[in-house]
Amino acid sequence: MMPVVLWTDALVFLLIACAAGAGFYVGRREYLLASWRRVGESRAGMAALTVLLAFVAVGLLDSLHYRPRLDVAAGKPGGGYSTEVRSALDALLLPLKAATEKTYSAPLATHLYAKETVELPDGSQARLFPRLKHGGAHLQDAEAKWGRDVALRVLRGLALAVLCGLTFAALAAQLAARHWGIGRLAAWRRIRRGETRIAWNAVLATLAVLLLIAGPVASLAGGYHVFGTDKVGQDVLYLTLKSIRTGLVIGTITTLAMLPFAVALGIAAGYLGGWVDDVIQYIYTTLNSIPGVLLIAAAVLMVQVAIDTHPDWFATGAQRADARLLALCLILGVTSWTGLCRLLRAETLKLRELEYVQAAQAFGASAIRVMGRHILPNVMHIVLIAVVMDFSGLVLAEAVLSYIGIGVDPSTISFGTMINTARLELAREPVVWWSLLAAFVFMFVLVLAANLFADAVRDAFDPRLAGRRAALREKTA
């Protein structure tokens, strides 16, 4: 196989490198570490973080792309590579991806959702719901055995989940016991009662819930389409899992594209003042007064035309779709920096008058140096809060934009495209409800987790809450 690094993959890895670097930086600075510890103390925050990390893990697996080698027998001498780009997640979910049906089937169904004229063994024809090629195909007598089989698989999944959960718990207790130098049972008791600085009990509880859901689903997915299939017979569970990466990419890379504008322009406007401030203010006031959707639609259509007229730019369809995804991120980034920029300008205006900034000026420090060494570190908490809070908004924005047709490439699987197709499915009779529901549930959990985490981060970093926090902790203690 040949590894393929799509542009968004590269940026995702860059982001992870940045996050690791930031982690190292924070680890060496006590005052930053203290704020992050407060995030760690928040139960809701840590539970949300666990869910987010589960999503991120799926997204990362889906960011390791490669082109599989074609079978030598079928190919030319020396072998070739398929034009289809797969990811590690695809490889894991290959049975799901390959198990396509003819058209719609309901969750856990054994028969198609639409009647078809089939030829019976005796040569006659009849209109009935035909058996699925994959879903429940292992059952001889679907009607009689279905219930028993599903229950068995659920139980097996649960057992697996409990096993995994216990292993995790034992591992956690073992590590904690080593850390504190006490017995494993005592360590476990401390974790369970929340007598740890970081809310490990919330993490483990969330993990347990995730396992209890994932176990049966995984077990059922071996023989059924857990969330049914869509119009062309693709497994909806597979589609939703693939959508996660799109959502995460939009949420994070857009931020990456937006930050340089927001931070540089915001600080420059606030610190330098004068005509620089005027120019930057005019730019963002103008940008803000144009309806965002209009601007995005125009830019996306331009990019689309450019891509369509130059098919030779891209070796594979996946690369083309990826280019469009990246373009969407950049466009969203360019149109959404104004809010943060305004916040940073206001904060810089305040900081500029502080005496330590004037002391630096008295040393003859240049404007760049003052902005980099004194202003930037002191506005980072605002940047961080804004980034985490924007994330969920961007995931939702993608869904809306794809729904009105100016989002990602139609071949890219995303929550938006799933919801867009669900529009027609809800209009048909009988209603196909499962694609919409699956997309909704996954997106809801992702956005809720992001919001809860953002709240925890804001509470931990907002200096205005510092006093109240202490009081609250005392009261609850």
Partner: protein, 666 residues
Amino acid sequence: MSLLRVESLRTFIDSADGTLRAVDDVSFDVSSGETFALLGESGCGKSMTALSLMRLLPDAGRIAGGRVLLDGCDLLALTEAEMRQVRGRDLAMIFQEPSTSLNPVLSVGRQIGEVLSRHTPLRGDAAKRRAVELLDAVGIPDAPRRLEEFPFQFSGGMKQRVMIAMALAGDPRLLIADEPTTALDVTIQAQVLELLGDLQRSRGMGMLLITHDLGIVGQLAQRVGVMYAGQLVEVAERRAFFERPRHPYSQKLFAALPRPARRGAGLETIPGSVPSLAASFAGCRFAERCAHAWARCRSEPPSWHGTDAGHGVRCHLYAPGAAPVDRAGAALPATPERDDRQPVPAPLLEASGLKVHFPIRRGLFKRTVGQVRAVDGVSLGLTSGRTLALVGESGCGKTTAGKAILQLIRPTAGSVRFGGEELTALGGERLRRLRGQMQIVFQDPYASLDPRMRVGDIIEEGMGALKAGAAAAERERRTVGLLERVGLSGEMRGRYPHEFSGGQRQRIAIARALAVEPRLLVCDEPTSALDVSVQAQILNLLRELQASLGLAYLFITHNIAVVEYLAHEVAVMYLGRIVERGSAAEVLGDPKHPYTEALLSAVPRLDAQGQRPLIVLRSDLPSPANPPSGCHFHPRCPRAMPQCARDYPTETRLDDTRRVRCLLYG
């Protein structure tokens, strides 16, 4: 029977560091018609005591025990609804910061009316008449018109008067004044203190005065309670207290005050700082800082020892059978002062005709419609090893003048010559090189250090910005040297500013300025945010540094006591101009300009003999955007003549060093 009786009041505050025992077993009485002053440094629990009486504690605070009896009625036993009746009617409070204690969107009349309708049966016209009376009573002229005005139309002193009027609206029997004049200028402070004294006498109110200023205590209080670390350590009649303070802490407070008699000698300091109230104390809370402490002080908390006539002390020294102690600690040896009359070398700094005008822009195209003349023609000179104090009220342009001299604000006109070079003509790289020779120390040690940088990085910043060449090891060695020089230890360079107290931070700020080996240090109110004992430490440090390094100080301040102690020369500024300058002894001992006279008379003195008769200035400082015609001071001047309104007086040389701008001497 006393009006207010506080019995072993204890107030705890829950915080991240544990429970702070902010008020721990405090008992005192206040009678009708009496002013009781609570005195102490910041963090000693004075304000918490007052808030406990009002039951207005912050969320994290709670009253853990004790009784507060107002006319025999226990306030702590009342329900919140009953307590609301008491607040404003029986007990009223004035806060420190008048600009934030009034609601900016309601007219003053509405805010006073609110109190009246809550606590009196007066409504409508009757309430309005009463409000006018109240404003009259606190000395606000043209009361009926001003009733309709909003807080932003009042100056700071006037706002504090409005606050007092609001406090009086419910006709309280006890008035709590929490640092009522700390945010005000000396001349305004004198007006407000006089007003408070008059009101209290004429109404026979009890007053609980909270302050850190011994001068204010001397002027207003009948009895004094000294607080330290959440406890009352001494209670006495004012006269007895000022003549003979008993507790070592009280004695130190007096000794740490800068005054002219101690010129040239080091000030007495109290080592260390107020202990954290989260700790539990085994012995006396002051033991760590006390010169008289012995073993018993560290193991056993002292109990209350009443001596003569209402004088009580919490100290083992006064336990029956303990050896009596003399009043003051050993006097510090006076270092001989350099001769004031040695031949004057060429001036290091010479500013002439310095002007800083800020344009006022209005309208769509930001047309300039006027000028704020913050500094309007300031001339001064300063030689190495000397201190020039620039004195004046807030808003007179002294800080702006200091920054314009350093070229932190570019002057509009005039010249600044530093070591023979004309700074106003310099720019870019040449100015940057000279920046190392002139540095600034700011007022607020909490805002002047970047909270995200370590102390070592803060000090090295200047070296990095000015001499990029020096090696890292060399810089580190110098940082350690500087920290030790200002009385900190070298290993502190890895810590962050929030781990230090106010005084230590100010030392770090001084070390940062010294890092680039300056010849001129502009000190912009370097001690006004600090407690008396810490102020003494910083003043001692500045004096030592001047003696050993030959630094020139431009000392910007409104604190006359500090000027008397430290300055060689004094320049008095009023509305952007210097109205009088000369040597410290001349200007402070025999002021010529009426403004200087008024300023000096407004400073509260400890000893009644030294107190000049107070010259109360009419109104407040005019706006520098629209200064009065003629002499800027004539609308407030008690000795104004008709021609003062026409001509601005030219500078009159009285002798070699002495200059004054006043038509009286023209």
